[in-house]
Subunit: 282 residues, 2 copies
């Protein structure tokens, strides 16, 4: 595995691979890798022999007071995990390499960012769309793998790729969970023992939701039941519980005429904000 | 010369050229070609054997009440001119090909769009940045040629390319003028005989400005003299006369410490809005 720190070096290296006729699959991450990220590498390897992973904690997608500074980092461990899993090129730029000057260009995706994390974290998805666009221009991948745990992020990226005609195929990859159901996240490391125990309520709340459950409940009743279950855990502090059409992410009043929905949760335990979701085809 | 109407056909064709090791130079236009456009083709041919020209009157960069509907079009004449000048591929998409659905993604460049045409035409440069980004993703050029007559457009595109790490080199190309000095523009065809005669005042007003003139006048005096000369033509209706630092496009109070300035004009003759500019290194 090659570790590259500058855009110029990465372009030179990938230009060589491309000249040899190789396609490139890309796994953008913020590091502190877990099995969720590693499963993205597996999906990438399945479509292309050259897998580029980036590790970049992007400051522009964190709001004031969010956890940019304390976001967990462990490059040596990440490097080892990436190499073991078969990453070809690890791209680890400094913030000054990605943002040498104060940027004046912003990419904004409307409508699908107006709810969920887009509402809770103003500016977050502008930061995501803009940095992903930068990374796509730097790596020029044929494929890019994103985890469905950040379902709204996947929807935003897919919308951007479609609207701006990016020559890349987005591969959404399923959520990876702990044995007890908790969705893997780099932020899980923030949880203390009791919070970690109660956090399993997110996946429990989602587990009960299937086409049969949706047939027996209105959207309002689904939200109410999920909310009540999460609220029964004393350390859980709900940011949002939403049920939206998928992938358009619009509120719905009834299930008729809707082909898929997403139930999406954001819940704080102490200072740690966790998200989870389930997409159900009706 | 090949004429291509769909994104898919263009990608397939250019993919072949690229596989053979060719670089691609791109000349985006709104058609109704004149010698200004043709000179861009010459610059493109100088850097690459494969020259792609697009002709697309982009609706999203026209404001309400602007001339999108009546913008001059003549594809048969354009096709002939492009072929004669050595364009390899002419890309002529329909509006529905470029915007099959209502787009949700917008690219916005701040600061350098706050004055000049950015102030006179709100939303214009968002439309320009977004469609140029789409065209760059469709054509994937190594070089792209833009005319300096739209100096603010060049500055916006260069800023976007830098901020978003587009893998393309922008080649700004000098303004081409009629014998009497009028800058070539597809919109010149709107002018009646008397307007056409008086329109030469734009280039006359700029011609007097050189380092010596700037040494003898403050920025305020330069603007005043240019404004007075243009105002002396009865059909001229000034939209703006501005003197800004270049390429940052910021207002300046004095010339000290500034390495280059732009004097930029927008003047209406009847319903026809003309622009012109001069960049002076100090």
């Amino acid at each position: 595995m090659k570790v590259v720190h500058t855009i110029q070096d990465l372009r030179t290296l990938l230009g060589e691979y491309r000249k040899q006729g190789n396609k490139i699959a890309f796994v953008p991450t913020m590091g502190f890798l877990h099995e969720g990220h590693m499963s993205l590498v597996d999906h990438a390897k399945a479509v292309s022999p050259i897998v580029v992973m980036s590790i970049f904690v992007n400051p522009t997608q964190f709001g004031p007071g969010e956890d940019f500074e304390r976001y967990p980092r462990n490059l040596e461990r990440d490097r080892q995990l990436a190499e073991e899993r078969g990453v070809s090129v690890l791209f680890v730029p400094e913030v000054t390499e990605m943002y040498p000057d104060k940027p004046k260009t912003n990419i904004s995706v409307s409508h699908i960012t107006s709810r969920l994390c887009g509402a809770s974290r103003p500016g977050h998805f502008d930061g995501v769309a803009t940095v992903v666009s930068k990374l796509f221009h730097i790596v020029q991948p044929d494929f890019a793998c994103f985890g469905q745990k950040d379902a709204q992020q996947v929807a935003v990226i897919e919308q951007m790729v479609q609207d701006l005609n990016f020559p890349v195929e987005i591969i959404p990859c399923p959520i990876i969970r702990e044995e007890d159901g908790l969705a893997l996240s780099s932020r899980n490391v923030y949880l203390n023992e009791e919070e970690r125990k109660q956090a399993v309520v997110l996946s429990q709340a989602l587990e009960q939701i299937d086409p049969k459950f949706l047939a027996e409940n209105t959207p309002g009743e689904v939200i109410k039941k999920v909310t009540e279950l999460i609220d029964s855990r004393p350390l859980a502090n709900i940011d949002y519980v939403e049920l939206l059409s998928y992938p358009s992410l619009e509120p719905i009043e009834q299930f008729e005429g809707v082909s898929a929905v997403i139930v999406a949760l954001a819940v704080k335990f102490g200072n740690t904000r966790l998200i989870d979701n389930k997409i159900i085809k009706i």
